[in-house]
Amino acid sequence: MSAEWPSRRSFLVASASALGGLVVGVRRAWPDEGRGTAPSAKDGTTFDPVQLTAFVRINPDNRVTIGARGLEIGQGVMTSLPMLIAEELDVAWSMVTVEQLGHGLEAGEGGRLRWRYGDQSAGGSTSVSDGWGDLRAAGAQGRWLLRQAAANRWGVDANVLSTREGVVRHPDGREATYGELASTASQLALPESPIPLKSPTEFRIVGTRVGTADARAIVTGRARYGIDATIPGALVAVIERCPWLDGTLRSFDDSAARAIPGVRHVVAIDGPAPGAMITHNIAAGVAVVADDTWAALRGRAALRVEWERSAWSADDSEALERAANEALSHAGTMARSDGDFAAARRSAAREHSARYTVPFLAHATMEPQNCTIALRPDGATVITSTQVPDDVNRLVSELTGLPRTAIEVQLTRAGGGFGRRLRNDFVCEAVKVAQATGKPIKLLWTREEDMTHDFYRPFGVHELRATVDAGRRVTGWSHRVAATSRKFRDPGKVRDPEWVGVCDPDAYPAGVVPNYESEVVTVPFGLPMGWWRGPLHTFGAFATESFIDELAHELGRDAVELRLELIGTASELAYRDHGGPKFEPARLAHVLREAAQRIGWGTASVAGRGKGIACHFTFGGYTAHAMEVSVARGEVTIHRCVCVTDVGQPVNLLGLEAQMMGGTIDGLSTALRLEVTVRDGRVVQRNFPSYRLMRMAQAPDVEVHVVPSTARPVGAGEMGVPSALPCLANAIYAATGKRVRRLPVGGQV
């Protein structure tokens, strides 16, 4: 966080200073005007819209444009974040048009950088929880100004005035629309003290079902993604990257490539130094730069490249799995230790243990990575599908020496993120190619490059062990994992503990079982590691929730009842990782009970079918899944799929249900067939035929139930995934008696 966060008070000021030092209140155009069409009345009169605050523009005819600050990667923030503003502004959603805001980096007082719109990144499911604070406040500021403008006009105290759907009303019947008031309102100064926000009982937009704001643009093909960017004169670049982990470029022959009509340049791109942190691009390569994509692809196919292999270039998934299983016999780094697990083992009536293996995963965003860039002596324009525009800006500044405020990062929709676009290696490549050629560049990754050069979800083997007393109560719990380190060559993770991203020391039943240990053993491997949707949780929940299911069967106990015992009855427990600082067991117990009730837990399935259940706490959200499945000829059929979630106050119920539905299907897809393997130092999976995402025919309907709540909301982008994987495995066990301890399920059933 290198930019200064503008205070709530400064939203209005910020919007003015960004527009060339205009005095607050002077009528001014929307910063992005020129990209859209100017509003006009039916008679052809063009009105000047009034920029009320950094986020709100009001037209005289009372139409309201709200800026969407977030990066839309499919998580719905282009709709949900403007809803927060609209709620406190007190307009009807039907009055609102949403526009994507640009990257709001600007120089503030003393030249210090600040974010005009707050944090615009997308990661960790925090957009809604962040906006719950500052975006509601931004909306309330707008309402305060409009109400005060009416008070001034009528010579009354603002406190006697009410607002509703874009109209300010006096008890005596006088009223004025926001459109009538906007011009004078924009000239008022905001109070120093915070403006009170609505109570949940006053919500009219938050908690309702609102369709995707730019749905029409999407279904007509007009929505703009990074890959759709054009900059005049831009040449298309594609890169042949070293196929071996951490290899280097030895030599290349580009004579045939240069002979392809339309090929203009062939440029070598350095990769990271072998073994060094991956700070910029991910691999060495050779870029072919051409007039259009097809010429670039043909040119790349004609390259003859010799690579130098590295110390990692013999790495192999099968050897890794053996090494991880072997490593579990060694002590690792203890992440948490309560009581005395060794003593619990000595005094236990019985114990049960099992190992669970989870594979490397690729992100496989539907839109392959890309970056379009123009470098000029005095500035740069960058258009890319990213989750972190500020990092893009910083990286381009670092590589070019341009001041950060001279670099424009245009925000577009992104065709999925899932954590892949938290890294900007492709931006670095585009800069290097643009520098080498002196031309604007449109860099495109092909699917094969995307799948074989990713920052992968770690691989791990989990070993779970529980000790049980004579009364079949759990007395001790050990969760050990041998994993490829999430810290591996990641400069952003250097100072993190060894267990980051692979071990969740405060996950239930921690804090409930008196003798509890969690421990991580790192297994070296050459694949770059990254965040993958609900990272720690999609990695760990499969093991924990499968093991609890096994343990229940082993002990002859009900799987829901045992979970409730392990969740416990504390009002809250400390939780250190993202989503903390507290875990509220009752909320997890509630979603579990609700899922059980909805699937008909405890009632028999028809022959051949079985029911499974699982629950998990992810990033402050509580989710449970319950499913009924059958297996025939190796194919799993999901007959029913229930998902219950509590993410606090729902903002956009329709979008929230979509996230839980999509997250569930992502979890099922991943559990059934997805894994990345390495053979001879190269990633084996190259495209969708070998990385087999779920398709329509197998996707179940997902019965989503959202727990009503007025608790401070967390996001929803990642909470639907983790418990889906073990729930499926548990249901498969119930249907077939086959315990899946290794993902993906693949041909095991």
């Binding site: 007509t220 965003t365 299907i665 035929p689 025919a697």
Partner: protein, 156 residues
């Protein structure tokens, strides 16, 4: 030799490399970027367009293969500013998440409904376009909704 065909109702002629996949012609030369690149090997369907009314994966179809034929992309589905019934159903069911695959999904659905006006879930399952966001259940609903609407339109 130039390749002549019709694109969204207009006659076009392409004098470039006839082996160029239609996808790259559309995106790079016709400025029609609604058709998306996803895999390049006909596996994901993000690039689905209609060739003589049938859903076709444009990433693996050379331009020469559409000589003399009628190509319609997502941009050509609207009729004078009025959404196609399937597009309207997509909005009504709030299908898109990231939205990247949806142009291809819609083109596939329009073709399916032309051949199978009242499809069952199993028949909808014949659409093999990938959606990484997992919007499949809402796609199914939108196709059923569009089928109902088209039946009503046909009955009028």
């Amino acid at each position: 030799m130039a390749i002549d065909f019709r694109l969204n109702g207009r006659a076009v002629s392409f004098a470039g490399d006839a082996s160029m996949p239609l996808l790259w012609y559309l995106r790079d030369h016709a400025a029609l970027t609604g058709t998306k690149f996803g895999c390049g090997v006909s596996a994901c369907g993000a690039c689905t367009v209609h060739v003589d009314g049938r859903a076709s994966r444009s990433c693996s179809l050379p331009v020469r293969g559409v000589a003399g034929r009628e190509v319609v992309t997502i941009e050509g589905l609207e009729n004078e500013g009025t959404l196609h019934t399937v597009q309207a159903a997509w909005i009504a069911e709030d299908v898109p998440q990231c939205g990247y695959c949806q142009a291809g999904q819609i083109m596939a659905a329009v073709d399916l409904l032309r051949r199978t006006p009242n499809p069952t879930d199993a028949e909808i399952g014949a659409i093999t376009n990938l959606c990484r966001c997992g919007t499949y259940p809402r796609i199914r609903k939108a196709i059923h909704r569009a089928a109902d609407a088209l039946a009503r339109e046909g009955a009028r």
